[in-house]
């Protein structure tokens, strides 16, 4: 059975590209908002990895991950951002809330490799 990975981004094309690149390797679930992401997390058990965009309307990536980590405490979280590292992201890194942050435009190979490393460490 393929690993379940949730990707949250408010840009539809990003969601499609992420799925298109990784759907052979993982079972990719997508959500176009933090709220939607939380719903999917509750519906699907066993989501091992969550990658979230930082800047989204209503709920930003870190706010979403804070709530998501309560629902799924064993999941590994990553942030994707078009910005430089912000104090908010730095704090999340320091506290271990997220394992790493990726920059946009994202390098699919880097993300894929990092997910594999993250899971090995986690197990």
């Amino acid at each position: 059975m393929m690993l379940k990975v949730l990707y949250v981004d408010d840009e539809r094309i990003n969601l499609m590209l992420f799925s298109a690149h990784l759907d052979k390797k993982y079972n990719v679930l997508t959500a176009d908002s933090g709220a939607d992401g939380l719903v999917i997390l509750k519906q699907h058990s066993g989501i091992r990895v969550v990658v979230s965009d930082m800047k989204m309307p209503q709920m930003n990536g870190i706010e979403f991950i804070k709530k998501a980590s309560e629902i799924a405490p064993d999941t590994v979280f990553y942030i994707l951002t078009g910005f430089e590292i912000t104090p908010e992201i730095q704090q999340a890194l320091d506290e271990g809330l997220i394992r790493k942050y990726f920059r946009k435009p994202f390098n699919i190979k880097e993300i894929s490799a990092e997910i594999d490393i993250g899971l090995d460490i986690n197990e």
């Binding site: 840009e11 094309i13 990003n14 590209l17």
Partner: protein, 319 residues
């Protein structure tokens, strides 16, 4: 009527008294006796009487006059003494006034020193204010620029993501089955998206606004970012990179460090009239990192070297 002088007066009185005495005493003698012998004897007494009378007369006259003279002299002496005292008194008073004036003068002098010192302090404060103002202005400008570029960067990063994701997908789909032109098209898209990404990243770092001096600054990356931004101005200038292979990482403020390097680079570019080159060396030795930027431009006059860190200092013409 003018008063006769004492010597004339005395002689006149003596003459009058003498004549009167002689006339009246002779008449008197002739009236009391006719005997020549008795008259001759009486003449002798009359002579003695004359001497006595004139002596008395002279004595009183002289006494009166001399008394007057002595009192005048005494008065004069008193005046003279008074005058001396007065002069001494006035001199002392004058000394006091002079002393006071001198003190006032000194006070004024020290006051004027104080005023000029205060003036200097004011000028310094003014200069400081100007510098602070320009720094604030610069910071404000960079902050606005930061907000703008961060927003633009984020917006551009998503379409860049589409392009990169798209081209990566196409490359995978085509695998090795691609003709020369397809390879060129894919290569163009990839190069374009990578260059655009580098520019956005550089801009983002250059305009980063943060108060922290504890950020990780990769000197090679800083130099590359700055070169990306001035890329267009480097057409006529060769860049010789000699960047440390191990990389040089220091703690500092990423945004401000970029601005420093960028300013030096822009200065180097402006110093080169037509053709030339800029050499950039990064390295670390004995716990100290260094970035050396040299150019083949016009250079700085030896006498102006001290002024390069003065705010607003420039040798460019105003405007």
């Amino acid at each position: 009527m003018t008063k006769l002088k004492f010597e004339y007066r005395i002689a006149l009185i003596y003459l009058i008294v003498g004549f009167l005495y002689i006339i009246f005493s002779d008449n008197f003698l002739n009236s009391i006796s006719r005997d020549p012998e008795a008259i001759t004897e009486m003449q002798t007494y009359k002579g003695i009487g004359y001497v006595l009378v004139t002596a008395l007369l002279l004595f009183f006259l002289m006494q009166g006059h001399l008394r007057q003279m002595r009192s005048v002299e005494k008065e004069l002496k008193r005046h003279r003494d008074n005058l001396q005292e007065l002069v001494q008194e006035k001199t002392a008073e004058l000394d006091e006034v002079i002393e006071e004036l001198r003190e006032t003068n000194e006070k004024l002098h020290s006051n004027s020193e104080l005023v000029s010192r205060k003036n200097e302090e004011m000028e310094e404060a003014m200069q400081h204010l100007k510098t602070t103002q320009s720094q604030l202005f610069q910071r404000e400008k960079m902050a606005s620029l930061g907000v703008l570029t961060a927003g633009v960067a984020h917006e551009i990063n998503n379409p860049l993501n589409f392009i990169l994701g798209g081209v990566t997908g196409l490359e995978e789909k085509l695998g090795d089955v691609r003709d020369e032109k397809t390879a060129l098209y894919l290569e163009s898209i990839r190069t374009g998206v990578e260059r655009a990404t580098a520019i956005v990243t550089g801009l983002n770092e250059i305009s980063a606004v943060s108060e922290s001096y504890d950020e990780v600054c990769d000197l090679n990356q800083v130099v590359e970012n700055c070169l990306t931004v001035v890329h267009k101005q480097l057409d006529r200038i060769g860049v010789i990179r000699n960047l440390s292979e191990e990389g040089v990482v220091v703690k500092g403020n990423v945004g401000q460090l970029h601005q420093v390097i960028l300013n030096i680079l822009v200065n180097a570019i402006q110093s080169i009239d037509k053709q030339g080159s800029i050499a950039i060396v990064t390295g670390a030795a004995k716990g100290k990192a260094s970035v050396t930027i040299s150019d083949t431009g016009c250079g700085i006059e030896q006498s102006d070297i001290d002024k390069v860190t003065d705010p607003f200092y420039t040798t460019k013409s105003p405007g």
